[in-house]
């Protein structure tokens, strides 16, 4: 499903040791996904290990998912943190959780990549 509404999206970058963490808060949809794509493109050149924290992400549609998956490709390692909400459901439905590691909490993800 793809939504056009330009909802608020907040992206925050941080570093934890050798791992980059991108926290997504708000809604990832047709309007806001390009921002995430741009950010992930930028980080791709760093050939980093990346954790995408979707804990505060309230909504994802397929364009958001596409942005995540395309962004993940060039990364050395990529994992996702998300709970049970809408993003989690989508990741399971689309079987993304079978190809990309999905954790329930940030520290699990960081331990997993260290």
């Amino acid at each position: 499903m793809d939504r056009i509404a330009a909802a608020e999206l907040e992206l925050r970058e941080s570093t934890n040791g050798a791992t980059r963490v991108v926290s997504v808060a708000g809604e990832l949809d047709l309007a806001s996904s390009p921002r995430l794509s741009a950010l992930l493109d930028r980080l791709a050149s760093e050939r980093a290990a990346l954790v995408l924290d979707l804990t505060d992400c309230t909504f994802i549609d397929s364009t958001g998912l596409a942005a995540i998956l395309h962004g993940a490709r060039p990364m050395v390692s990529f994992s996702v943190v998300c709970g049970d909400g809408v993003p989690g459901e989508l990741l399971r439905m689309t079987a993304v959780d079978q190809t990309i590691p999905v954790f329930e909490a940030l520290d699990e993800a960081l331990n997993g990549t260290s």
Partner: protein, 709 residues
């Protein structure tokens, strides 16, 4: 010294005798002691009649105590100069006089009386009267904001001030070729002959306007000799004064005053006329500016309203019709809008008139005498050249020239066109049509200013039309594309009943990123796919188009489901833009009822068992296509009972604004369970139950029912 005094006295006497000014003297008791011939003439009394009488006989009742006061001052030694007052003559007429009163000293130095020199200033009274009237006229003209009132004010004041018998004001028309009589007082109805005068006519008023010079014409015969055009008019004027009205360097018209008696125009009379004319010219100028300002403001208001109309709808014809009706009667009595057609002709889109009954006339005209697209005038020409046309007046000869036959001429005369403008509707360098504005009943004459305002309006309209057309073309392209993309028909394989529905999301677009396809392969198998390209609208549809074509080929080739999906994923690696696709692909044998399926990132297919239960085909799942480097696509199998129905769909059917996909799926299962048995029934059933509440997203649904062979 006595001799000198005698000479002086003699001289003084001679001066007094011959003076034009009335000179009298009075004693301390205000009795008249001397009275010169001029006093006789002024007051109408002979010296014998007044000598010894009190001077009060020439003082009017209203001025009763005056003499005493004057005398008091004189006896106190004062000299009074130019004291203006009134006196009364023997025959009761009041005269205005200016008095100079001096004490007369006796040889012993005592003041014995006073000498009074009286100058008649009745003329000066008239001058004062005129000055007052000029002042009054100035004040009222300053207040007058319309030309009609200004002319009225002038006529009210000028005529009595100069004692004229008739007065008129002529104004030059906007074209500068004719003078129209804007107001007149005192003339006979025959003056109507001069209601409109050509500027180059040989008439006093037009001559004055042409030359910018005032005319002071005394003598009736001379008048008629000089201006033969005046012969035959019933009014016999002896004298005529014409003063041009000029504001800055603009000629506005002239004021005319006519006198029955021969009248010599004294200097101060001429000055008064020139001053009053100047005031009127100013007032007229101001009134015109006011009017122009008011019109400009009205035009602006109109443009704002017009913009709202133009923005309100994408339906070109409807919008232009509303615009045309908005324009009448403000911008014109008639408004017609024509659009150019592709074959070089033109199409009438709107004809408006404030009185709808008049429209019948225009309809009759158009029906019987359709406009000629090759006409070198009017809308056809404006569309061809992209240049506006302005006809400030419509002379009858023009109508005669344009008319095709008598009936045509009669009809176009009936329209009553007084003035016409035709402006092009041009946007982005192309002329799309033309707007024709006609002033008829209102009698308004269009000016260059009006033309400019109309062009502005036309620009707005043209842009709106162009945008709407672009939108429509894009819409048509999208619809055409989509129609090419949907399966023309569904196969009817043996042993299976098939139905499908597709509802695109975009308003006005019939195509989106969702698709479905169903083919019968060799060996009687049926291959089906329901897919969803991430994104919306035409962009997603374009990707969808490429994918569906490729995938159809893979299905027809009989590729095993997982392999087909793998190939499609590989194909996407070549795409310029990254995209993502989820799909469910099944391959089934209607005879064995064995289904092999791949679910790639997509909601699970549902199966409605003959028992009524609904379950998911949730075998191994695969990731979405087009996103992973080395995706692995796996298929699963299931064997279904006769009468089972398999339902494939896209997530648009189960998404809700504030719900997770899980609840939507549950709702679908319930709807599917309750749906009628047939494939078509299932599709309709779930679409009806869930489609209304679904978010505006594409929805594709396919149902396959095993009929049992």
């Amino acid at each position: 010294m006595n001799a000198g005094w005698t000479v002086y006295q003699g001289l003084a006497e001679a001066i007094v005798e011959s003076s034009d000014d009335a000179i009298l003297s009075k004693d301390r008791d205000a009795r008249i002691t001397s009275w010169n011939p001029a006093a006789e003439r002024l007051y109408g009394y002979t010296a014998e009649e007044v000598l010894g009488k009190p001077v009060s006989i020439i003082v009017p009742p209203g001025r009763a105590g005056e003499e005493m006061r004057i005398l008091e001052r004189i006896l106190a030694g004062e000299r009074i100069e130019r004291y203006e007052t009134e006196r009364v003559t023997a025959d009761g007429r009041i005269v205005d006089v200016s008095l100079t009163v001096s004490p007369i000293r006796e040889p012993d130095g005592e003041i014995g009386g006073a000498s009074v020199i009286a100058q008649e200033i009745t003329d000066r009274g008239a001058a004062r009267d005129r000055a007052e009237r000029l002042q009054q006229a100035t004040v009222e003209l300053a207040r007058a904001i319309d030309p009609e009132r200004a002319v009225e004010v002038l006529l009210e004041n000028a005529l009595p001030a100069l004692g004229a018998d008739a007065a008129a004001v002529g104004l030059l028309d906007p074209d500068g070729t004719e003078v129209e009589l804007a107001g007149s007082v005192g003339y006979s109805p025959a003056v109507a002959r001069f209601r409109r005068m050509a500027l180059d006519a040989d008439l006093p008023m037009t001559e004055s306007i042409r030359t910018g010079e005032a005319l002071w014409l005394a003598g009736g015969d001379l008048l008629r000799e000089r201006y033969p055009a005046l012969i035959g008019s019933p009014d016999r004027w002896a004298s005529l004064a014409i003063v041009p009205l000029v504001a800055g360097d603009q000629r506005l018209g002239a004021v005319a005053l006519s006198f029955r008696r021969t009248h010599r125009f004294a200097r101060d009379e001429r000055a008064f006329m020139l001053a009053t004319a100047a005031q009127l010219a100013h007032a007229l100028e101001r009134a015109r500016l006011f009017e122009a300002e008011r019109r400009r403001r009205e035009q602006l208001d109109f443009v704002v309203e017009a913009s709202e109309v133009l923005a309100s709808s994408l339906d070109v014809d409807e919008t232009l019709e509303r615009l045309a009706f908005l324009a009448v009667p403000r911008v014109g009595d008639w408004c017609g809008i024509d659009l150019a057609t592709d074959d070089g002709g033109l199409r009438s889109v709107a004809v408006a008139h404030a009185d709808r009954e008049r429209l019948a006339l225009a309809d009759r005209l158009r029906a019987k005498y359709p406009p000629d697209p090759n006409e070198d005038r009017g809308a056809p020409n404006v569309i061809r050249t992209g240049r506006p046309e302005l006809y400030p007046t419509i002379p009858d000869d023009l109508l005669v020239e344009v008319a095709v036959d008598e009936e045509h001429l009669r009809l176009i005369r009936e329209l009553g066109m007084a003035s016409v403008m035709v402006v092009p509707l041009t946007a982005r360098g192309r002329t799309l049509g033309a707007m024709t504005l006609v002033a008829a009943e209102s009698g308004h004459r269009y000016t260059e200013d009006d033309l400019e305002a109309a062009q502005e309006l036309a620009r707005h309209a043209a842009l709106a039309v162009d945008n709407a057309t672009l939108y429509r073309r894009e819409h048509e392209a999208a619809v055409t594309l989509q129609r090419a993309l949907l399966p023309a028909s569904l196969p009817s394989p043996r042993g299976a009943e098939v139905a499908a529905s597709y509802l695109p999301a975009g308003p006005g677009l019939e195509v989106g990123g969702d698709w479905y396809d169903l083919v019968e392969t060799e060996a009687g198998r049926v291959a089906a796919v329901v897919g969803d390209v991430a994104g919306r609208g035409l962009a997603a549809a374009t990707i969808m188009g490429r994918l569906r074509t490729a995938f159809r080929a893979y299905m027809l080739e009989g590729a095993p489901p997982a392999a087909a999906v793998e190939r499609l994923d590989a194909l996407m690696g070549d795409f310029e833009e990254p995209s993502m696709v989820t799909l469910v692909h099944l391959s089934l044998d209607p005879v064995t009822r064995r289904v092999e399926y791949v679910r790639a990132g997509h909601p699970p297919p549902l199966v409605h068992d003959p028992s009524g239960a609904v379950r998911e085909l949730d075998g191994s799942s695969s990731p979405p296509l087009g996103v992973l480097r080395d995706p692995v696509f796996r298929s699963s199998s299931a064997e279904l009972e006769p009468g089972s129905v398999v339902l494939l769909y896209t997530d648009g059917l189960i998404e809700r604004p504030d719900e997770g996909i899980g609840s939507g799926l549950a709702r679908l299962r319930r709807a599917f369970a309750a749906a009628p048995d047939s494939a078509e029934g299932c599709v309709q059933g779930v679409v009806e139950r869930l489609g209304a509440e679904a978010l505006p997203d594409d929805v594709a649904v396919v149902a396959l029912r095993f009929t049992g062979v």
